[in-house]
């Protein structure tokens, strides 16, 4: 029997940031200061935004919310490592990539409220946002389909000879779904310019990653499908940036796919409907808190004298103010009119829907619950 050699990169863990805030000089991508601070600001923004939105959900102002606390590094590294023309096919925890790629916060918030300023017109759950303007697609609540779609979109780019790369995401849990395996097979066989990233956050609701595979790592699966593989510290934004950037540009120039496992941890609950104390130990969460991606990155920035208490405080205050202003603007907006529901089922509203709408409008509208909350 041959075993996988221990020096295989798909078994090891690529990292840049060290605990003392220094970096591995061999690995550090040495980004310019605005980029370094920009990534920090965006990570901080998601952290704060998640806190504020979860509070809104608890107050009953929005119907649902899923946070990404502890996993901010992967989406932000992706946003910075891709070009505007690249496509993002997120899974559960990458929603905010679009914000970091320039999507306006107010429009994004309107989707959370599902009101009439929402470009998705109140039809999709929060944390499932998408935007054509920033080439980000909504993930399927029935987990998995975004990965074959990412491969297909990359295939289209290859056929059209567009220098466009797609980045598709999946959780560790959903690697057990057939779509993951089919997507990897297809990416390998057709050699399409995509990067498939598994955020291994160790849990799929209550089911640990050990229940999803008995492979030594997720990254190692790349070998079986003939795809390049990498395993990276998912709480190290510099390691992620370097790995994803390399994979994206490699895909752009050679049309070769890469599968990346980002090893991280879901600090918060699965979603606003979950209570994680039912299935995991607080000590495990505490251990991962020590490796918080924001804290680790902050140490690096402070050591490089790019960040100090005053700058951090002013950044936080500016973000809080931006969110508060946006919430104030968005919260009073009325829900979408009932008649909007029959739009976009097809490109034009067919007769049966016009009839059903007429029937609906013959009844008085129920008292409007403002916004989308219960």
């Amino acid at each position: 029997m041959t075993t996988v050699p221990d020096n295989d990169p798909t078994l090891g863990l690529f990292s840049v940031l060290r605990d003392d805030g220094s970096s591995d000089p061999q690995a550090d991508p040495f980004l310019d200061d605005p980029t370094l601070l920009g990534m920090y600001r965006e990570m901080l923004r998601i952290r704060i935004l998640d806190e504020r939105m979860l509070a809104r959900q608890r107050q009953g102002r929005i119907g649902f919310y899923g946070t990404v606390t502890g996993q901010e590094a992967t989406p932000i590294a992706t946003a910075f490592a891709t070009r505007p023309e690249d496509w993002i096919f997120p899974a559960l925890r990458e929603n905010a990539i679009m914000l970091a790629r320039g999507f306006p916060l107010e429009k994004w918030l309107a989707q959370v409220y599902g009101n009439s300023a929402d470009v998705l017109k109140g039809r999709q759950m929060p944390s499932h946002m998408s935007g054509r303007a920033v080439n980000q697609v909504s993930w399927g609540s029935c987990l998995g389909p975004q990965l074959p779609q990412a491969v297909g979109a990359a295939w289209a780019a290859k056929l059209k000879k567009d220098p466009v790369v797609t980045v598709g995401f999946i959780g560790d849990g959903a690697t057990s779904e057939p779509d993951f395996h089919s997507a990897m097979t297809f990416a390998g066989v057709y050699k399409v310019p995509c990067v498939l990233i598994c955020q291994n956050n160790h849990w799929a609701i209550s089911v640990p990653s050990s229940r999803q595979t008995s492979s030594k790592t997720f990254a190692i699966k790349a070998h079986a499908y003939g795809v390049r593989g990498a395993r990276v510290d998912g709480n190290d934004v510099l390691a992620l940036y370097r790995t994803i950037k390399e994979a994206v540009e490699h895909a752009r120039t050679t049309s070769e796919p890469t599968f990346i496992e980002a090893v991280t941890y879901r600090i918060g609950a699965h979603s606003s409907s979950d209570d994680p104390t039912r299935y995991r130990q607080e000590s495990e969460v505490e251990a991962w808190r020590l490796r918080d991606p924001l804290v680790r990155y902050e140490r690096y920035l402070r050591r490089a004298e790019l960040l100090d208490d005053a700058l951090k405080a002013s950044m936080s205050a500016a973000i809080e103010e931006q969110i508060a202003t946006a919430v104030r603007a968005v919260e009073p907006i009325a829900p979408p009119p009932r008649s909007s529901m029959v739009e976009d089922v097809y490109a034009t509203v067919p007769r049966h829907l016009r009839e059903q709408l007429a029937e609906m409008e013959a009844h008085p509208a129920p008292p409007s619950a403002h916004g989308a909350g219960h």
Binding site: G63, Y279, M341
Partner: protein
Amino acid sequence: MRATYREAVRSALRTACRRDERVFLLGEDVGRYGGAYACSLGLLEEFGEARVRDTPLAESTFVGAAIGAAIGGMRPIVEIMTVNFSLLALDQIVNNAATLRHMSGGQISVPVVIRMATGGGRQLAAQHSHSLEGWYAHVPGLRVLAPGTVQDARDMLLAAIEEPDPVVVVEHQFLYPMEGDLDETAPPVSPWRALVRRAGKDLTIVAWGGSLPKALAAADVLAREGVDAEVIDLRCLRPIDFPTVLASVARTHRLVVVDEAWRTGSLAGEVVARVAEDALYDLDAPPMRVCSAEVPIPYAKHLEDAALPQVRQIVEAARRARGPRA
């Protein structure tokens, strides 16, 4: 005793595990978590990992494995978190579980129970909120049950486990917290019969599962208007107990069918068609259907409420079925 619908499901699961060694539960988050809707809470502790199995996140695989286990002599009960996720297992359910007895010349049976949550009303948007029980009810070889009361949540599930053929049990998400009377010692009941939940003489309302409480509430409203509605709980969606429906229509001469699925191609259409075929001349007015708007179920509460059948619309349909001649 008083119990919730979810407790009644749990009671049936517990009873089944206790009385039959071959029974085991499997699905996503059914063990440590106790199920996404807490139906199997405490069962892992009581019966152990061998009988309450958290599976990898792979519907088609764990349904396929359950079919295999059933062929191998076990009595698996599968939980699929929502009907939308069951679509990933359609090939196993429709092309395999439903056909194996027939295609093996009767040599192989697949005694598997597949439970799934269905329906909308909780702001979970289209991919968690559909009502596709009619799809399963279309397929020969399957039996499809839709318990609409707390007692039925227990009794019908226990009956399903006794079945030698594959049974799909649809549990409406909205019913899980509903309270009602539960007799945990009730003798076995036939799950295949429709039942008259409320007797009435002026019109028949047919409903099942999550629409049953709405139909009963509509009947209460109608009663205040002096209209005496009969409410039939269909309970079993395949095979459908048409004699009970036809007998009711023969008494009331008017029909309203409530179905949370989309109207075109719905089970409601099947019920109406059958009444038209067998009892057209019993009807004094055109039959009415109250169904969901034919759109993917939206997230925003205002839109979701407008998309799903509501008591108000059932009442309205009943008034129209009563017609000017009433």
